[in-house]
Amino acid sequence: MANRVEDSEGQRRGSGKAKRRNRWQGYLFVGPALLVLMVTSIIPIIYVVWMSFHRETPSGESSFAGLSNFRQLFHDTLFFKSIGNTLVYTFASAALGLSAALVLAALLSRNVKGSKWFQILFFVPSVTSEVVTAMMFLWLLDYNFGLFNYVAEKAGFERVQWLLDPELAMLSVVLVGAWRGASYNTPIFLSAIQNIPGDLYEAASIDGAHAVQKFFRITVPMIVPILSYTIIMAFIGSFQMVAIVDILTNGGPLDSTMVTLKYIWRQGFEFNNLNYAATLSLGLLPILFLITWIQMKFSDRRAQ
């Protein structure tokens, strides 16, 4: 980025000084943001790391604990179960949600009359907080009071144990996650699809392709970069999910929906094992780092 310009006043004073000026000028731009992040994120994160190597004494002081918290982590079957649960939730809700979003986006891109209104209303589920969303579904899915079971009974079926059966409870949580994911990602896919040059479709039509063929042979391949972006963002987001489980199942029944963040929260704030909770969240990092690293590789490759 060396300045090749010669006619600007500032450059005449000598290239040495200009180069030095430019070397650190970047910090003027990133500095303020980094300063805030330092205070709000980085120092607290360092504190969390520090905490994972300590434990709390009865008098409230912190004493050095070496790796004992980490050893506890390795023997913590519930933690590993929670990672498994979270992965199941992540994969399932991402697959369902993103597929639905893709299909909806493709339909919206046909621009039938009234598409604009559909677009706006489709985003409503993303706009309410996770907590309120979960509360709505809590009552729709309730075994004794829920509308869904009322409809099931009216239709002649047995009541469904949406939130009482370990497998169905995970399914219910996945469906709520997918429901939100579909809403959130539809506008993203729609924009990507709208960016695809129309002549590709025309050429395919001339060759006699159906709509479905066009979808799989043109639409999907052309938006692979966006697809990978949304998949990875869905991953990171799903690992942070806790409100849905908190309200619908409280981690049950029988820990079948105990996701990692709920477990960390429980250890840290219900059991007051803050040091151990810090350790657990560090244990989560390798997975998230890996995913983000993959993400970065993709996005940088896209940019070339």
Partner: protein
């Protein structure tokens, strides 16, 4: 237009500062509390030292308080206390008696209180007075011990012994009991009649309850016999009613007794009720209190167990049904030889690190005073912890409250709250007992987990 490098920095810096200032200049965090104080009681117009507080039913005037100079008291009450008129009245009443004290009253959602106390105490900015279960917070080092102030006050004998358990941990007091309640049995007279059953009496047993549930279902008087809860606290009430307990304090050793036969009996009873479709399966969510009363209100069940708050709810939300409601203390165990229930409510406490212990304690005394405690009972349905207040006519006149008053005598608080991990194990156990068939297996797992957790806490001390 041509900004040199130096000017660019200046512009950048100014803009950043401006942005942060814009954010900051709206701050008004030091403004006083928003609680709109109603017109103070007429006696407040007299100067503080002229008021005869005792004749009003308040603690006598405490010179120590007025001698303290300007005091700002931060009071965090549960959200369903903070917005009520009697509480706001109390605050302005206290302020007029002690003009040097300014009270900032805020509401906090009940279930968020432990969390908010935890963060504020650990962060070094605690409130001065709050309400929860002080024994649990004292056990975690989040509440100030107040034995010295109790000594000075001398009011200990006035309180229901069960209520004092809510504020005591390892023989140290951490608060002032404010509200007590307990669970008892509610039943629908009409539905019992329809099923051809006599009304439950004080010698009712769990076995009878289950048999009656079957008769209710068979006679189609109602779709289910009773509503059960998967909550740890509610189920502890059943355990106590059966003569069992979850913790045994043997001198200094604390033992979990989940595997006690009386506990297992109760769990099996719950399981059978669900499995045999005599009671609707409860939800798995943390909050269990919404469902049983609604099932009762819809006439889906003919009976349930809960506390006086549901009496108020039935009266306001289901007025027609209310005429047919009957109450009776909890059944006397499986066979009729035991008596007990769980005590709930809450007590005032002073978070650890508060600089205004004495003033906060004085305010706590006002909360439990004759003048205000009865107001809370009459206007808010919050029942007092001081025994003599139960002589008030209101407790004699309402037949439905009799069961509550009777049950209070043998109610015990939920001490598992002091051991969060053991508490979770119990919670999980109740749900496992209802949902799965291997009750014994679930009990064994939970017992081990709970004992391990209790030992871990105890060995640290």
């Amino acid at each position: 237009m041509k900004l040199g490098w130096k000017q660019s920095i200046a512009l950048l810096a100014t803009a950043s500062i401006f942005a942060l200032l814009l954010a900051g200049c709206g701050g008004s965090g030091n403004s006083s509390s928003s609680s709109s104080s109603p017109s103070s009681p007429s006696s407040a117009s007299a100067s503080a030292s002229q008021r005869d507080l005792e004749s009003e039913g308040l603690p006598k005037y405490n010179d120590n308080i007025s001698a303290k100079g300007n005091v700002n008291l931060e009071v965090w009450m549960p959200s369903d206390w903070a917005d009520k008129q009697p509480v706001k009245e109390l605050v302005s009443d206290f302020e007029s008696a002690y003009p040097n004290v300014k009270i900032h009253l805020s509401g906090v959602t009940w279930e968020d209180i432990p969390n908010k106390i935890n963060v504020s105490v650990k962060g070094g900015a605690p409130a001065d007075l709050s309400m929860y279960h002080p024994f649990a917070l004292g056990a975690q080092g989040l509440a100030e011990p107040v034995d010295d102030l109790w000594q000075e006050w001398g009011a200990e004998p006035e309180f229901l012994p069960g209520s004092l358990l809510d504020v005591t941990w390892k023989n140290v007091k951490y608060g002032v009991p404010l509200e007590v309640n307990t669970t008892f049995m509610f039943y629908n007279k009409e539905l019992f009649q329809k099923a051809g059953l006599p009304e439950p009496t004080e010698s009712y047993t769990f076995r009878q309850w289950k048999d009656d549930a079957r008769k209710i279902v068979d006679s189609k008087a109602a779709p289910s016999g009773l509503a059960i809860s998967a909550g740890g606290w509610d189920t502890f009430g059943l355990v106590l009613a059966n003569g069992g307990d979850l913790l045994k304090m043997d001198g200094n050793k604390v033992q979990a007794t989940f595997d006690d036969p009386k506990v297992v009996e109760v769990l099996q009873w719950l399981h059978d009720l669900g499995a045999q479709k005599l009671a609707p399966l409860p939800g798995m969510q943390a909050r269990q209190s919404d469902t049983p009363v609604a099932l009762f209100g819809n006439k889906t069940v003919a009976s349930f167990y809960s506390g006086p708050w549901d009496l108020a709810k039935l009266r306001s939300d289901y007025p027609d049904l209310y005429k047919n409601v009957g109450t009776v203390p909890m059944p006397n165990g499986m066979t009729g030889s035991t008596d007990g229930s769980v005590q709930g409510g809450g007590s005032l406490f002073i978070p650890k690190g508060s600089k205004n212990k004495e003033v906060a304690f004085e305010l706590a005394k006002w909360f439990v005073s004759d003048k205000y405690a009865l107001k809370f009972a009459k206007e808010m349905g919050r029942h007092p912890a001081r025994a003599k207040l139960y002589e008030d006519p209101m407790y004699k006149e309402d037949p439905l409250l009799q069961a509550f008053v009777a049950q209070l005598k043998t109610a015990k608080p939920y001490l598992l709250d002091a051991y969060p991990e053991a508490n979770q194990a119990w919670s999980d156990l109740v749900r496992a007992a209802i949902l799965t068939d291997d009750v014994q297996g679930a009990v064994k797992t939970a017992q081990e987990k709970a004992q391990k957790a209790i030992d871990a806490v105890e060995n640290q001390k």
